[in-house]
Symmetry: C2
Subunit: 357 residues, 2 copies
DNA sequence: ATGAAAGCGCTAACAG
DNA sequence: CTGTTAGCGCTTTCAT
């Protein structure tokens, strides 16, 4: 028999490998591998014996070795916008995008023995391609999850397509790859309808960064609601923002300075809504009596704002879980029944909306 | 020349490997490996040639292959408390612990070509050992980062010690492994001193879960401040909590029901402080005039609370970055100069503290 | 239905 | 200083 200890003992205790399991169960390596991978052609009895050995030894296959031997890595790579994410973390803006992604993505991956790994890349950087290629070469993920605005960036989607790496875009309307999103237009329409039903007639809209496809969809939904309610379009009621607090403040100032100022505002992000609250209050307006606000995203902070904000809740965890599931399915050779999925949003009514005075 | 395409072409384009680089630079595999690993005994000229080839081909070594061949995985595993983390995510409680960890840990890892991977384990589960062993077998991390309360759990620290895997505990006082924390006692003392200097004489304290070593340290700091100010200890002013909102509400009710109720409270977490605010306000107290509150953690929500909370800010990102650096250093064979590091906290004064009426 | 052999991309130990 | 050899733990052929 081969002894374990060589002349110089290894630094760390030798880990349990497939060999040990095979020896314990009295079968070949290959049979153990088949059992692990739920492969065909294994008698139930043998399968049982192998599983017992696995349990007894506490064996867990090494991801690195599986990746080396086989064609899959059991890794999913999630790509987030670098600047926005880091800024959010450093400023403590209370955004929980990343947390919700982890909640949905990590847990779903874990169910399937997968891992989700997280990378920050800068969409604007000329070296996006290099950055992504590097991560791909380093990890060889079986699939990639793209978060806004990466899913709308053709440099990225083309790269992934060329490399034949399955990818899913979250919060994206369609485009190449799987798309998992919510109906942003319908959500904006719902938000606007909520205000209309309260009796508002002058409703302002603060749009998001045009770099995000969903910004256009939300604007469209807002317009649609007004149109259906029989109002002529008033372009002065639409102010351009870019999701940030600062842009929201500027946009709100613009809207409130209008001769016939709006009695309500739909803002495309929580940060912009919070800015709207602050600007309105420091202009002496009382919320929601003088101004109603509907927000987008429903991150934790909006519950603690005064007044707490009515908001459209984006199902980020569910979207990410869905994306992970599709990608893992693709890695298993399953062909997705559809190339896009739209998950339901929710309008959470809180204290920032009321009938106009 | 060896042709690339076999009879059945591979599903994905062949990746650039060390072989290609070696061929391009006209050297052996080993020389390339030496350059990558910054090894000794490579002439500058050759090094240059290899680096040029690497750049030209966009070569990035595969982590899986490096782990297989060598003794390191370039992976750090961060272990967080499962229930607490998931509850926080699902309830949207606005805690950004995980985000701050990622900020500090991921970015530091990236600087060194490392990856930080994230795992949730349940400290209370009898199968903690199995869960951790599984993750270790799957990933073979070069080091493990323990967050509270895992760093205080001997089952976990013993396991890691036995396996000779370097680990660092964050927010932990000492114990085995590296410890990276802040001076919780001093922080609580600072918080209490702040209230004393405003003129408060009856100061309540809401402690954290006793499962966390830092809970005791904070309580001790509070006591120390009062002692040094010449006040006799009044045990009725200390209420037990467990960091959660609910426990904070109960503790506050208890404190406010006292015959000689405190004019100020130090609470050991943001959630408990928020609960204190709510309970106090619904009891008709005005903040900060009737009751001052100092919080612990300074997560994003406390800025949006009304009033915004004065709080001790915990340098989670810095602590995690430090932990990552120590572990990566250990993987490189460096012997740490010290086994623990204490990072500075900060008292952020906001609107929840004022002189008593 | 099972086993044996080859090789993934890299590093470690040893030669030169 | 540089190259050669062996092998990490698994999956993939291919044979039986």
């Amino acid at each position: 028999m081969t002894e374990d200890g060589g002349p110089a003992s290894p630094r760390r205790p030798r880990a349990v490998t497939i060999k040990h399991v095979a020896a314990e169960a009295g079968v070949s390596l290959q049979t153990v591998s088949r059992v692990i991978n739920d492969g065909p052609n294994v008698r139930a009895e043998i399968k049982q014996r192998v599983n017992d050995a696995i349990d007894k030894l506490g064996y867990v296959p090494s991801l690195a070795a599986r990746r080396m031997g086989g064609t899959r890595s059991y890794l999913l790579l999630a790509l987030n916008d670098r600047d926005r994410t880091i800024d959010g973390w450093q400023s403590g803006d209370g955004t929980d995008w990343v947390d919700q992604m982890l909640l949905g993505g990590m847990l779903k991956c874990a169910e399937h023995g997968y891992r989700m790994i997280f990378e920050l890349v800068d969409t604007h950087d000329a070296r996006v391609e290099r950055a992504i290629n590097g991560a791909l070469a380093q990890l060889h993920p079986d699939g990639v999850i793209l978060t806004p605005p990466h899913g709308d960036n053709p440099v990225i989607t083309d790269l992934l397509t060329a490399k034949k790496i399955p990818f899913a875009s979250i919060g994206s309307a369609g485009g190449p790859g799987f798309a998992v999103g919510m109906d942003d237009a319908e959500a904006a329409k719902t938000a606007t309808d909520h205000l209309l039903s309260l009796g508002h007639r002058r409703i302002g809209f603060i749009s998001g960064s045009p770099e995000y496809a969903l910004s256009g969809a939300r604007l469209e939904g807002y317009r649609c609601a007004l149109r259906e309610a029989g109002f002529a379009e008033d372009r002065t009621l639409v102010a351009q923002g870019d999701f940030t607090f600062g842009s929201g403040a500027a946009a709100t100032q613009h809207l409130l300075a209008l001769a016939d100022r709006p009695t309500a505002i739909v803002a495309s992000s929580d940060q912009m809504s919070l800015a709207a609250v602050q600007v309105a209050q420091s202009s002496g307006l009382r919320l929601p009596d003088d101004l109603s606000i509907v927000s987008f995203d429903d991150t934790p902070i909006v519950k603690f704002s005064t007044p707490a904000l009515t908001a459209i809740r984006q199902p980020i965890a569910a979207m990410t879980a869905h994306a992970a599931e599709m990608l893992i399915g693709a890695a298993n050779g399953e062909v997705a029944a559809q190339t896009s999925e739209t998950l339901p949003f929710e309008l959470i009514v809180r204290a920032s909306t009321a009938a106009p005075r």
